[in-house]
Symmetry: C2
Subunit: 333 residues, 2 copies
Amino acid sequence: MANIKDVAERAGVSVATVSRVLNGNSPVAETRERVLAAVRELGYRPNSVARALRTARTGALGLVISDLTNPFFTELADAVEDAARGLGYSLVIGNAGERPAQQDDYIRTLLDRRIDGLLVSSAGTGSAMLREVVASGTPLVLLDRAVPGIDAPCVRADGRTALTDLAAHLAALGRRRPAIIVAPAGTPTGDERLELFRDALAGHGIALPDERVGATPDLQPSGGRRMMSDFLDLPEPPDAVLATDNLMALGAMDELRARGLRVPDDMALVVYDDVPWFAHTDPPLTAIAQPTRDLGRAAVRTLLERIEGRPAASVLLPARLVPRRSCGEAPAR
Amino acid sequence: MANIKDVAERAGVSVATVSRVLNGNSPVAETRERVLAAVRELGYRPNSVARALRTARTGALGLVISDLTNPFFTELADAVEDAARGLGYSLVIGNAGERPAQQDDYIRTLLDRRIDGLLVSSAGTGSAMLREVVASGTPLVLLDRAVPGIDAPCVRADGRTALTDLAAHLAALGRRRPAIIVAPAGTPTGDERLELFRDALAGHGIALPDERVGATPDLQPSGGRRMMSDFLDLPEPPDAVLATDNLMALGAMDELRARGLRVPDDMALVVYDDVPWFAHTDPPLTAIAQPTRDLGRAAVRTLLERIEGRPAASVLLPARLVPRRSCGEAPAR
DNA sequence: GAGGGCTACGAAATCGATTACACGGGTGAT
DNA sequence: ATCACCCGTGTAATCGATTTCGTAGCCCTC
C-alpha cells in the first residue's frame, strides 16, 4: 500500500507538504493539485495507525456491553455504533457476557489500544478496572448501569414516571397482588426498579411483600420461568407480574403457557424493555419502554464532551409505559 | 501513562531490553527481574498503537455485519466476537444496516485502520469496495452471504438437508400448497433458498408456483406481513408458509393473528433462523436452524488461516430442521 | 532600496514501540 | 593459549504519519 513518502516523491514535494494538503492545515499552493493527483493515482489512504501514534488520538471509541445477545443491549449497541459513526468514530466492541472478569479483560485491552473514550454498561459491580480507567484519564461514560464509587457520568433511563403510571394502570384494572421479578439484590438497576415500583404501588394502597419479590441469579429466561413458577405455587399467587428484563419475561411467559394459564385473564404481565418482539407476542405485552436509541446517542454525545475536555453531567431520560393488552382491557390508544 | 522509556530508565537498562523481556524473545537475565519490577511499579502497559505501527499487525479484526439488530446476525456477531477474543484479537464492528454505501464506508475505514483481517456479511451485491479489499491483500472472509466475483472464502450454512427434511415434513402432514417468503430476487441467499425448497418439494410431487413466492423489498416484519396478506387473498391460499428470515416470520404471524387465523390449524408456519425467541412463541415455531455460533467460529478460524498465510477454503455447515408444533402434530422429540 | 512581514515549503524531530546490528565478555574446543 | 562462538545487552534504524522550526522568496511600506 502506498504511503505518504510515495505520494511525496510522485508529486515532487516533501512529505510535510503532502500532509498539509491532506489535512488542509496551511497551504493552498499550486502544488496542491499535483499532490491530489498523486494521491488519486496511487490510491493513497493515510495509515491511521501512524496518525494515531503521532496525534495521540485513535478516532476509536470502546464499548463494553454486558450482554450483546440481550435485545435491549443489542439495540443500545446499535444506537451507539450509529452515533459514533455519525461523528467519525469507529467502535471497538467487547461483550462482557455478564462476566466481570471478562469485562476487565476487555477494558484493559481497550486501554492498551488507546481508544479515545470508553462506554461501559458494567456487568456486576466489579469496579477494579474501572477505577484504573478513571485514573488513566481516559474519558469514561457509564451506560445504563451506574457503578458506585466510580466518578464518571452515567447515561440511563429513569423508570419513576413509567412505574408510577404502571401502578396506576394496574390499580385501575383491579390488580391487587402484584409481583416483581428482578435481578439479584445488589444490582443497582434491580434494586432501584424494585424500590420505585414498591413506592408507586404504595401510592395506591397496594403492598409488594417480599414473598412476591423474586430475584433471579441471572438475566435469563430460565430464571424468569423459575420465579414465575414460585409465584404460582404461593398460597395466594399474584395477579400481575412485572419482569424487569425482557429475557426474564420470556421465561415467565413459558411457565404460564406450560401451566395453561392465560394472559391477561389469569395473570397480568408487564415487561421492562420494549423490544420489538413484544409487540408480536400474543397478547402484545404491556411494556416499560426505555428510550434505548436516545440513550445510545446521549451516551456518545456525553463521551464526546469529555473527550473534548468539557465537563459532562449524567443523563437521565424518562422511560414510559406502553400499555398493550397483557393487563386486561385494550389500551386507550 | 508510562512508556517503555520510563520503564527502561527505572530498571537501569535500555528500551531494547525491556521490549525483549516483555516479548520473551531472547534474554533470561537477572535484569529480567528488575524490568518486571519496574513494569509493575509503573503500571506500564505497552502502547499497542506504536506496536502495531512497527510490527504491521494491529491485532484487530473487522466485522461488517448487514444488520446488527436482526437476531440472527446478533448471534453471529456475538459468536465472532467470542472467537476473536479467544484468539487474542479485538473486534472493530460496523453495522451496514443493509445499506451498501454504508458498508463500503466501513470497509474503507477498517482498511485505513489496518485491521489484520476482515469479515463481511455483505449487504446487497455491492462489491466495489470488496474488490479493493482483495486487491489490498487484506485477508477477507465472507460471512453468510457469498458475493459473486469476489475471490474469498465464504462461510455459510447449507440449507439443502434441512429443506429436504422440511418438504418431507410438510408432505407427511398433508400440506399440499406451500408458499415461501424470500428476500428480493437477486439476493444469492434468497434465490438459493427458494430453489432448494422448490426442488425438495418437487421430490414429493408438490409444486411451488410463482404466485406462492413472495419477495419482500427488505428483511423486515412489515414485508413479511404484506406477503402473508397477499397469500391469504389468493383464490387458493397456501396451507403452509416458509419465511426465509426471522423478522419476516414475525410480520407473517402478525397478519395471521390480525385475521384471526391460527397456527397450525389454519396455516402452517416455518421460520428460517432458529432464534431463541421462536421457542417461546405460541405455538413454538418449527424452524430451520443455522449453526450460527459454529459459523462465527469457523469464520474466524478461516480468517486466521488466511492471516497466517495459509490457503483457506470455503466452509459450508449444514442447517437442520427443528420440528416444533407450527405445522401440526407434536414433534417426535 | 532596505527592512519587515507573509507565504509556501522543506528538513528534521517526534510519537512508542520492535529489531537488525555491533560489541564485550565468558565458555568450550583445540 | 587462542580462537570461535554464544549470550546478554546497548545503539540506532525503522514503521508512517504530524508538526515545529527554519528559510527562501515575495510584496509592501517608508
